[in-house]
Symmetry: D2
């Protein structure tokens, strides 16, 4: 299986480099008959797009997605869907130093070691720009979920940026789309703005924690041992550029808990089983419980900063390097729509897998 | 691909339930000509085996592995290796309540919902016993690594149990195998023993954090986008029972760092590039740098405790449940050899994948 | 994916060598709740078993299958099913010459070249004995088909052995199980018996053509381009030892036909579309039409014969070799139940795949 | 894994419909550093392109391939290669009848049954036009083979068209590229031309047999049981539109042979083992012997003919249908470059797989 692919039934293979002519995603296994056009995907790309605020890089690209196959007269045909986004911002410029130097914190050196030959322009394949293709694929997944599992909602938001964390008592999902940080707390926006402005002025960057909340996921998605729902969600998040950790439910904090605290007790509610808590984050034994699925991941600070860093070049010379250009001071912000897209793909894939194995039937209780 | 499998070239499919006649692993893609017999695998199983100390469950099983195929006259033949471990401790006993009840924190309820029909004895497929098969497969991976990449060492150890954390200034790898906790700090053992004894007496359990250190991994293993080395390591760890979070390098702490702190600077050393720090945990852009690979994961507290918990049964009746039997008060301890095994499989798989794509050649520097 | 596996959802990995302690199949992706025990599988193994007539090898093995996992209280649990068959006929004997020599027509030389080290006893992994594991897996597939698509029947039979071909005007499916040749024509049995007896006395062997007829297969199974139903059926048959050709519908004869003859015309019948002929063999564009699926494959003559053949050994010495022991004079006979088993696995796999992508819904006509 | 993909390491996923904006192939797993540009691929597309002679359809398309990713400064980077071919001949026309009717012999009815909704224009995904994407991917495989296994040559040619077969005594590989039939026999061209002209005038079409000869393939490619080289080659050929049978070596004729005739005897030659014949077609036990690999496949007659055929439409009405337009009277001709491309992909994939498992080392003889 392609190392640039994910999914078992609903498979996504992304392709393309930051400064090549285009990038995109090849999506296979999509159910037929689903309403889909560019208009259903574009809003997700627009959310991810840089250059929208001072909080993200100023690279200006329309990121217009085109569907080249798999859709006919506004509905999917069940054949592969090719999604393409042209790279319009391919200014011919001098890549002199960057072509030879290895930017610290970037994949430049590992790509060079592994492949010998790499597209160094803008980071090539390792650029965060690749995530646009994932967001487009996520748009397809969302369109399918809308028809097969209408009740599923997937919401990403920031819960930490550097030293700042959200106040969960003020959590308001309505606010998330109203500010530049995907922050579920309107009152915090001014502080976050000041903080990030200060970091940028210091020619520095900062890390972040993003949380993804999946609501309405039916119970029974996942598999016992390796194709676990949490394994696949963790892999999906970890595969996003700059992600260094993934948590499900209590996450790292579970290490500090007691069994009496952590295991979610169960009672009968009016519509079936009800859990009295959700330390598990909606997944038990790799299979969804029907509760909210809650996951978080940490994004490292942007490695491209204007402060000079020590490194070497291909010739083995020691140099000091400044990564010019306007880069996101907190790349975690743009990871929010990417994480939502990945989660949508994983949930849909497991929904289809479950349909294959069990026909979607559920064991009865009561 | 089987949802009970992992790996792309070196593939492992585990099978078996806690109280069935046997469990095991089907290993394919193993290079031929590698020295292998049961004696090379058994020590890893012995390390994982419960019943060895008061710190783990008292279930007594020899966990003797048998190789049924793929090895001839002490060397692998390149054909599938079948590893089997008989379940000798299948005491016929009354599963009355457990057959009907859903133990909180366990997969009982999700298996029931998904499959309708499940082997409830000892948790069936969701039992930690399944990890014995992984450890056996890891023994094969280690035997191959010994021939293909002799310098690779993989060491797991506990760094946290409940409120206790290790003092890294006293880190001594020699100590890890000398105590019941896989603790790299001899001085801490008495405290950890007291702590866990107290928790057990309180009929409770506690979570843990395990760290895995991979040394000697060559640079260039991994792939850009989805088949990343960190993605695969994270998935491998997350697929272990009770794991709720995975960190690479700085992990969650990366969120709090600045770009000036986090990006590992590079200088030339006597043998090529040298990184001045290792915040990345040995992986950049999904590809190994040649530094130590460092990952951690959190294990939730054992859900099987003697304290009564509220739950329901298949009939939808609300009940209070005590999980009888002697269970690990900290299941994280036994996760150590499992994590090592999974890491060995992932590293070998990527070594073989890299051999396929690049022939193992590396880009030159200097 | 394991090179010893087949299937996408219902996956089968076979393992084991001819003279190792055991061989078997690891089956994953099986739907839960399906009635299954050894008794449901054993009859298929009994059909394949050698030593039953003078027409097949006299190796006497009970070929008793054991289910080690994935089944609980007589029904599948949805977790991996491990099927094991012990090799009881492992007589310790002198493999002196065969250990060094490469039997012409056998995989001895290619295994040696590829793997360097091989289990030469009885052909090791390349022995037709491996097909017992496939037949066992096919027994599981049949049990599932019985519940999910009761109307599907899969019937294999011989249509050619050396110079003899069946007279289709006397085709009687009832006869297939009543003779040693899986012949659908009782009147032909004496001739076939005489013919094969003569070939054996001449210390020779002969090839065969087997036909598989799949009736009751619903329309809509398959996929457009590479995961075609005919591609997967062809691969399944070609993967059986000694198979050298596969035909669907008209097969090779299609080359001689005109478009006016070959394209199956369609009319409306009482229950929907009806094809006026079946040159296509039940598959159009890789997807089942709902007609009978008809495929054939050629099996080469057994390479193990008592007539001396020229060959070499590992030392590069030219030798003459007689393959001692009692071998099938026509290995094609035993390929019949193997082909049925493979067909059952492929049909089930595509049924589950279709359920994943389309939910089993069909486009309407009329 | 995507059902529109093939390959394990060198993976190809094709996408696109006959009359959509574009079609193409996503190629992953390509080794880095290989010289590649559009110019290396275009000649293969030009060979496949229709409209070049009276012997193939007159649809006129330049079929210009564009590389959108994975290649930088004329060499592959090891990241996914996106190959795109625009559909320039998308004349807006009335698809009135064809939109509703099911053309006999075509996938129209099976696509409708499976997907409910299909792109009927020109057959959509089931059009032979999809094979252009395979040919482009084959061009990449050839470029890699040129660097990794320079001695490998892959040559396809026609050996039968309807009632005409080639005279192997006049076989001349040089002639293949000199005529419109890929015929290795110049003297036969006039007869073949007359024959096909007559068939076209009769508003009919005819089937064909194509042979593919792979020379210089190293021994040791393949795998024992399911990932056999012949299995994968057979699947690759069977996946081509309109193919109804595949033969390796003796193929169907093996059924008529005796063991004394069929098993290829071995002697020592100056450079190692030499086979005295090649009934096996270069593959034993699923693994290449180092001999020529010889395979053949039958292509059914084009289903689109000007003679009216009985069929039905979506409304369930019985109609008579003429497939207008200029279609290939023998679609087998254009299958030649497609088969070569598929063979190149399979050989490369197994070369890389072998490198993964054995490191390319071979067992010694003598």
């Amino acid at each position: 299986m392609s190392v640039n692919s994910f999914g078992r039934i609903f498979t996504v293979t992304t392709w393309g480099e930051s400064h090549g002519p285009a990038l995109g995603a090849t999506v296979d296994g999509c159910p037929p008959g689903v309403a889909l056009d560019e208009g259903a995907i574009q809003p997700f790309l627009d959310r991810r797009r840089p250059g929208q605020s001072k909080m993200t890089t100023q690279r200006q690209e329309p990121d217009s997605v085109r569907i080249l196959s798999g859709v006919f007269e506004g509905r999917t045909t069940g054949t592969p869907i090719q999604l393409t986004i042209e790279n319009t911002d391919q200014r011919s410029r001098d890549y002199g130093e960057i072509a030879q130097a290895f930017r610290p914190g970037h994949a430049d050196i590992t790509y060079h070691l592994k492949y010998g030959h790499r597209d160094y322009r803008g980071g090539g394949r390792s650029s965060a720009r690749e995530t646009a293709a994932r967001v487009a694929a996520g748009g397809v997944a969302r369109a399918v979920l809308r028809e097969l599992a209408q009740q599923v909602t997937i919401t990403g938001y920031m819960v930490q940026m550097g030293e700042l964390t959200i106040d969960r008592s003020r959590f308001d999902p309505e606010e998330i789309t109203r500010n530049d940080f995907f922050l579920p707390d309107a009152a915090a926006v001014p502080d976050w703005t000041d903080y990030l402005t200060r970091i940028r002025k210091e020619q520095d960057s900062v890390g972040a924690v993003v949380e993804v909340l999946i609501q309405g996921c039916p119970p029974g998605l996942g598999a016992p041992v390796y194709g676990k729902l949490d394994t696949d969600l963790a892999a999906a998040m970890m595969s996003i550029n700059a992600v260094k950790a993934v948590e499900i439910g209590e996450g790292m904090a579970a290490a500090r808990l007691r069994g009496t605290e952590n295991a979610d007790e169960i009672r009968m509610g009016p519509n079936g089983p009800e859990f009295l808590s959700n330390h598990a984050g909606g997944i038990l034994g790799g299979i969804s419980t029907g509760q909210d699925i809650v996951l978080r991941f940490a994004v490292k600070p942007t490695s491209s900063i204007l402060t000079p860093r020590r490194t070497i070049n291909r010739a083995g010379e020691e140099i000091d390097l400044i990564t010019k250009g306007r880069h996101d001071p907190c790349v975690g912000i743009r990871a929010v729509p990417v994480a939502e897209a990945m989660a949508a793909c994983v949930i849909l894939d497991h929904l289809l897998l479950d349909r294959a194995q069990t026909g979607g039937q559920r064991g009865e209780i009561g």
